[in-house]
């Protein structure tokens, strides 16, 4: 249990402010819905019931039904799974690639370092949605492409922070001692550097979750990300938007779900940052 104590402490601090507590609650709800989707949902999210199109919210359909009579609540719950799966894989990819590049950059001769930094600048200064359009134009839309696009977009965030952290660590006396004792680069990196720079990177990861959710929903809304009939929130909003003249319920409900989720993760991420290290500032 001792290993968990710092975690509990941080969470207590996060929940100590109203926005932090609210964010944490929303995060728990979304995560719960995402993990336990098959049990939380009341209906099969893909089951059609044409006779029951645009049904108003009722005991049978808590949030009503969409243009094909599918249960909106169950689709939203499954949308949480998709959003979380995409967000976590994209962030895992960006975290890995960014950290490696960042550590490499800190260790490289100045010219190599400059090249990596310019690469980061290029990626983060690209209008990522526009870049996404170009990539999708070639490879076609798919959930995998969403992960790739979001992963590439976020890599510089992690890379810059990792590099900055390594630079401050590199001349630390304990690392110098390790080097004198003959430790090789892998040992130094995996044993000492990574554990020491993980904290800020994890905070950054939590702050990037809403960013990925937004990218996924935006691309899926355009029909360029997760493909229907998969119940991504972006797909649900697109469906609702198309049938706005029939019923406003689906579009409002699915937009609200997306908005609440991104807000919750943002609040949580910022509270986590303030709790762990108020000095880290997200680069945008």
């Amino acid at each position: 249990m001792t290993a968990l104590r710092p975690l509990v402490q941080v969470l207590r601090q996060v929940c100590g402010t109203v926005p932090g507590a609210l964010g944490f609650a929303i995060v728990l709800v979304v995560l719960g819905a995402a993990i336990f989707a098959p049990w939380v949902a009341t209906h099969d999210p893909d089951r059609l019931d044409i006779m029951n199109r645009f049904a108003a919210p009722s005991a049978a359909h808590w949030l009503g039904t969409d243009h094909l009579g599918r249960d909106l609540y169950s689709r939203l719950v499954h949308g949480a799974s998709i959003a979380m799966a995409v967000a976590l894989s994209a962030i895992a990819a960006a975290l890995t690639a960014g950290t490696l590049l960042g550590i490499l950059a800190a260790w490289m001769p100045p010219r190599g370092e400059a090249a990596v930094l310019i690469l980061f600048d290029v990626i983060s200064s690209f209008p990522s949605l526009v870049l996404a359009l170009a990539i999708v134009a070639v490879f076609g839309p798919s959930t995998f492409m969403v992960v790739v696009i979001a992963g590439i977009t976020l890599t510089p965030h992690f890379g810059r922070v990792a590099r900055a952290q390594v630079l401050t660590l590199r001349s630390a006396p304990f690392l110098e001692a390790e080097r004198i004792l003959g430790a090789g680069l892998p040992r130094i990196v995996f044993r000492h550097i990574l554990p020491n720079i993980m904290g800020p990177l994890i905070v950054l990861a939590s702050m990037d979750i809403p960013v990925v959710i937004t990218i996924e929903a935006g691309l899926s809304f355009l029909g360029l990300g997760v493909r229907p009939p998969l119940a991504s929130w972006g797909v649900l909003i697109q469906d609702g938007y198309q049938y706005l003249s029939d019923s406003w319920v689906p579009v409002v409900v699915s937009s609200a779900a997306l908005a609440v989720a991104t807000l919750g993760f943002t609040l949580f991420g910022e509270a986590l940052r303030d709790a762990v290290d108020p000095r880290i500032r997200q680069e945008r």
Partner: protein, 321 residues
């Protein structure tokens, strides 16, 4: 001092050129990477074999890769962005004709965001710790967190469909300025809202930082009215990070503009790319994306330069970030 400025200028120019070159290479690589038969992918399965062959020859797709790359680069440098597969019109002309719509939308949104965000930020900073400050902080996060296309849809639903106050779709009649302005309001608001949050927060925190500095304390000690201290001296310094934020934000704004243009069925760069995409008209996508990138780089460069002109401290520090 002058040598430093020149060096800074040069390094920014080189980086900008590298970004544009990188974008060109990437776009070329993407077009070369098109999986399968390029003619089928670009033209769709309905194209007849003769047309496909003719298309391949016209697009130079049968030539070796390095020749195609050279052709692409020299074409772009002379302002030739290729030809639309469907209509045969030059892409550059198509891009130019829709660019004003995107310009008005994005710069209108920036203007609106500054107009609302700066006063909110100043208010929050001068009422630090009050209930209003906390509420504003929450509203700012909410504005930042909610995706702009969601805001766009909800605005459309409330103001156009339920209240019927504003017309919804399109950019309006070309001769009717009033009509155009009315149709611009909602898309502009949808795009601006996140930036209101960003700017309010940034102005608040940099105001607080500046207000704690000795020169402000000295002014107060000299009895300069608080209003003058706040608005004339503190705000001026606090605005510098805001300008940098806007420079970095142009890319996101352009991305957001794509979605907003589509929700409101407005013509513009985003709409052009999206429509070309749905019919796999790759030359148009390629050309328009390149223009967006160049636009973006130029705006960023201008912002960085004005930044170092406004704040001489930046010139010594190298990259303005």
């Amino acid at each position: 001092m002058r040598a430093e400025t020149a060096r800074y200028l040069a390094s920014r120019l080189v980086t900008s050129a590298l970004i544009v070159l990188g974008a060109m290479l990437l776009l070329f690589a993407l077009s070369a990477l098109v999986p399968g038969d390029p003619a089928v992918t670009l033209l769709g399965p309905q194209a007849t074999p003769e047309f496909a062959r003719q298309f391949i020859r016209e697009m130079g797709l049968d030539r070796p890769l390095h020749e195609r790359l050279w052709l692409f680069l020299t074409n772009v440098l002379t302002g030739n962005l290729g030809t639309d597969v469907l209509s045969g019109r030059p892409v550059a002309g198509m891009v130019l004709s829709v660019m004003p719509y995107t310009f008005v939308l994005t710069f209108g949104a920036i203007g609106l965001a500054v107009l609302l965000g700066v006063p909110l930020g100043v208010f929050a900073a001068t009422h630090r710790g009050s209930l209003a400050d906390n509420v504003l902080a929450f509203i700012s996060v909410a504005f930042i967190a909610v995706p702009s296309f969601v805001v766009a849809i909800l605005l459309l639903l409330v103001f156009s469909i339920w209240l019927n106050w504003l017309p919804v779709l399109g950019a309006g009649n070309a001769d009717d300025l009033w009509d155009q302005a009315r149709r611009l309001i909602l898309p502009m608001a949808a795009l601006a809202i996140g930036w209101v949050g960003f700017i309010a927060r940034l102005v608040r925190s940099s105001m607080l930082e500046v207000m704690a500095e000795p020169h402000i304390r000295t002014m107060r000690a000299y009895g300069i009215p608080e209003r003058l201290v706040t608005y004339k001296y503190a705000l001026k310094n606090a605005c510098i990070p805001t300008i940098a934020l806007l420079g970095m934000g142009v890319g996101r704004l352009l991305g957001g503009a794509v979605l907003v243009e589509i929700v409101f069925a407005r013509p513009g760069l985003g709409r052009l790319i999206f429509d070309a995409l749905s019919v796999r008209n790759f030359p148009v996508v390629q050309g328009a994306v390149l223009v967006v990138v160049v636009l973006f780089v130029v705006v960023n460069l201008l912002v960085d330069l004005s930044y170092s002109a406004i704040d001489p401290r930046m010139r010594r520090g190298g990259a303005a970030k």
